[in-house]
Symmetry: C2
Subunit: 392 residues, 2 copies
C-alpha cells in the first residue's frame, strides 16, 4: 500500500480539476491532498466513467446535482475505507503533472458584493460624495468581464499597457503604474438555463457546481481613465486568475451561515430573509510570502444565490462554464481588505511584503491567495490561486 499523501480534511474536500501528465495526456481528476485521482480510471467500468474519458470536466458539470453527488459519494466511500484498491490504482502524485484550466469559461461576470469594499473604493474615488452609489443596497452590481483571458493559477501575468491621465490632464501611454490584485471567490455554473427565464434564489444549487478562489487583476490607472460611462474594460481584461481546483458546493455544507441583515427592503426575487445563503470562507492574501490581508467571505452583503438570481432576472440564460466572481472580498477591519488600493489607502501608505514595501505591485512580485472553510473533518484548504507579475 502506498504512502498516503493526504489528510482527513483533504478526503472530504475533493475538488475537481484537470492536469496534463508527464506523457502529455489530459486527465480530469479530483485532488486528494498532494495526489490526484484520475476519475476515468477510478470509475472505469461504471456508467459515470464516460463523463471523464475526454479529459474534460464539462460533461460532468453539465450532468447536474445527482451525478455530482454520486461521483462524490463514490470518492468519499473509497477514501473512508482506507484501503480501496480502485482508488489506489487511480491515484498518482500531483507533483510532475501540470495543472490546466479546469473548464472553458463561457461568460464571465464580476460582481461588487462587499459593502466594505464598495464603501472603501467610493471614499477613495469620490471623497466628496456618498461612498455607495444609490443603487448599491438594492441589487448586486455587476458587469461582464473577458472570458477568454481567464487563466489558471500559476500563469504569469504580463503587466498591461494602456492610456492613463496625468495629474496635469495630459494623456500618457505605457505600462500600468498601479497594478493591483482583487481577492475574490468565483462560482462555476454547471447546469444551464433557458433564454427568457430567471433562476430563483432557492434554485442556486440546481445550477452552480462549485467555488474557487479568483484574482481579478486590476490596473487602477487604466481603469480610472476609461471607466466613465460604460464601466471597467482594459483595466481588467488583460487577465483574471482562477484556482486550478473547483471546490464542489457539496464540500461546503458546513460553511453556510445566515445571510446578512438588509438595510433596504429587497425586491422579492432577491429576498433571502431567514436563509443561510452566506458562506464562511476565510481568505488570506500573501505578497512575496508575507500575509498582507485576511478577508472574510462571510461578511459579503450579497450572497452567491442573490448574484445568480440577479444575473438572470432579465431572462439572460446560463451556460455550462459560466463563471461569476463575488467582487473583492473586504471585511470591516483594515487588515481584511482584498486589494492593495484599499490596503495602501490608494498608494499613500505602502504595505510591507516579503520584498519590501509596496503601494502597488512591482515586476517580479508574486500574489498568492488561500482560503479555508469548515467541514466535518476540520477546516479544508481551498486550492490557492497564485500569479507572478512579468514586466512588459
Amino acid at each position: 500500500m502506498s504512502v498516503r499523501n493526504w489528510t482527513a480534511a483533504d478526503a472530504v474536500h475533493l475538488p475537481y480539476g484537470r492536469v496534463r501528465d508527464e506523457r502529455g495526456r489530459d486527465i480530469a481528476g479530483v485532488r486528494l491532498g498532494g495526489d490526484v485521482v484520475d476519475l476515468a480510471t477510478f470509475l472505469d467500468g461504471g456508467v459515470l466513467a464516460d463523463l471523464f474519458t475526454a479529459g474534460r470536466l464539462e460533461p460532468f458539470l453539465e450532468a447536474g446535482p445527482q451525478v455530482w453527488a454520486d461521483v462524490r459519494g463514490a470518492l468519499l466511500d473509497a477514501a473512508r475505507s482506507g484501503a480501496d484498491e480502485r482508488l489506489e490504482e487511480s491515484t498518482r502524485p500531483l507533483a510532475g503533472a501540470t495543472e490546466l484550466m479546469p473548464f472553458e469559461v463561457a461568460d464571465y461576470v464580476d460582481f461588487y458584493a462587499s459593502r466594505d469594499h464598495a464603501s472603501n473604493i467610493g471614499r477613495i474615488l469620490r471623497p466628496d460624495g456618498a461612498p455607495l452609489s444609490a443603487n448599491w443596497e438594492h441589487m448586486p452590481i455587476g458587469y461582464h468581464g473577458r472570458a477568454g483571458t481567464v487563466v489558471v493559477s500559476g500563469t504569469p501575468i504580463t503587466r498591461p499597457s494602456g492610456q492613463t491621465k496625468n495629474a496635469d490632464g495630459s494623456i500618457a501611454f505605457g505600462p500600468s503604474g498601479r497594478l493591483d490584485f482583487e481577492a475574490e471567490v468565483g462560482f462555476v455554473v454547471g447546469v444551464g438555463s433557458s433564454l427568457g427565464t430567471g433562476v430563483a434564489v432557492a434554485n442556486f444549487r440546481s445550477h452552480v457546481f462549485g467555488a474557487c478562489l479568483l484574482n481579478d487583476w486590476s490596473a487602477r490607472d487604466i481603469q480610472a481613465w476609461e471607466y466613465v460611462p460604460l464601466g471597467p474594460f482594459l483595466g481588467k481584461s488583460f487577465a483574471t486568475s482562477i484556482a486550478a481546483w473547483i471546490t464542489p458546493l457539496d464540500a461546503l455544507d458546513a460553511a453556510w451561515v445566515r445571510s446578512p441583515t438588509r438595510n433596504q427592503p429587497l425586491q422579492s426575487y432577491l429576498d433571502d430573509d431567514g436563509r443561510t445563503d452566506a458562506l464562511d470562507i476565510q481568505l488570506t492574501v500573501e505578497i512575496n510570502g508575507t500575509v498582507v490581508s485576511s478577508p472574510p467571505f462571510a461578511s459579503m452583503y450579497w450572497t452567491p444565490a442573490q448574484m445568480l438570481a440577479h444575473m438572470t432576472v432579465n431572462g439572460a440564460s446560463l451556460r455550462i462554464g459560466d463563471l461569476y466572481g463575488s467582487g473583492t472580498v473586504s471585511g470591516a477591519q483594515p487588515d481584511q481588505c482584498g486589494s492593495l488600493m484599499e490596503l495602501s489607502s490608494n498608494g499613500q501608505l505602502p504595505v510591507m511584503t516579503g520584498k519590501g514595501p509596496r503601494a502597488f505591485l512591482a515586476d517580479g512580485d508574486t500574489v498568492v491567495m488561500r482560503a479555508t472553510a469548515p467541514s466535518p473533518a476540520g477546516r479544508i484548504n481551498l486550492a490557492e490561486v497564485n500569479g507572478q507579475i512579468v514586466g512588459h
Copy 2:
C-alpha cells in the same frame, strides 16, 4: 439548368452562414441571393472541403486570410462562369431551411464609436454637463457584453423584467417600459492572438473575417438605474441579435473610405492618419414595416481597426468567434439616429411606425435592420437582422 435565384451583386457578396435543412442536417454555406451553397459539397474532393463537413464555420474562420480568399475565389469563379456544374449541384433554395447562429460567440464586446450617438445620449442623460465624457475622443470606449445571449436574426425577443427607479425615487420591479433597439455593425474575429500581445491597426485584416448587422436590444429604464458605476449589465444582457450571414471583408473592398478627421492627437497605437479604415455601409431601420432611420456607418468616429487595436493594447488575447459591435450608428441628421431613445427624444416625440406611433417598443413590434455597401457589381445587400418583441 435551374433557374437562377440571384443577381450580379449577390454573386460578389457571398456571405457565410449555417442552415439546418429539411432533414435536420446542419450545413455550413454561402448565401447566393435566395439560394444557399453547401460548401462541403461544392468543395468536395478538394482539401478545403474538410473545413465545412462538420456543418460549422469555425474551422474555416480559424484558417485565416489565405484560405478565406481561396474559398471565395472558387465561389466567384463558379458564379461568374454561369454554368458551373459543381455550383449547381451544391446549391439549393434557402426557403425551407432554418437559419442558425453562424458561429459560437467567444467574447462579445460592444463599443460606443459614433460621436453623434454618444453626444445625443450625453445630452439626454446629462443635460447640464458636457455631452461627451473627457476620454471619448482619446479612445474607443467599450465594454464586455454577454456572449451567451447573442441570438440569430429571427429569434423572438422576450421583454426583460428588472428593477427601475420611479420618478418619486421609489424602486419598482417589472417588465421594461422603455425597450429600445440599437442599430450596429458587428465584426467577427477568425484568427486569434496571444495573451500579452496587441494587434496593430494595420493588422486588422489578419484577424477579422467579416461584418454583420447587429441589434443591441436595450432596456433604457433598467440600464439607467443600474449602470453607475460599473456600466450596462441587465439592461443589455437579455439579448443581442446578429444577422444569419457574415459578409466577408473581401466583399467590402469597394466600401473603404477615409478615416475621419481627429479632434485630438491620438496615441500611436490608434493612429490611422491617411488610412482608408472607415466603411461605407448604409443602414436602414424599419419598425413594423416603416423605415424610421437611415444611419450611415461611414460617419463613425472610430474605425473597426482602431476598436480591435484598443481592445488588445493591454495584452488581452483574441479567440476565434470573438464578436465586437460598433455601438449604435447615428449620423448627424435627425433621421439618421440608430436608436428610439434618440429618434423620440427620450420618449417625448413618438415615431410613426407601421402600427402607429412609438416612444419605445411595444409587444408585437418587429424591428428590421438592413444595409447596403458598394461593390464592383453595384450595391450589395448585407443580410438583415430582425426580431419581434414578445411580452413577458
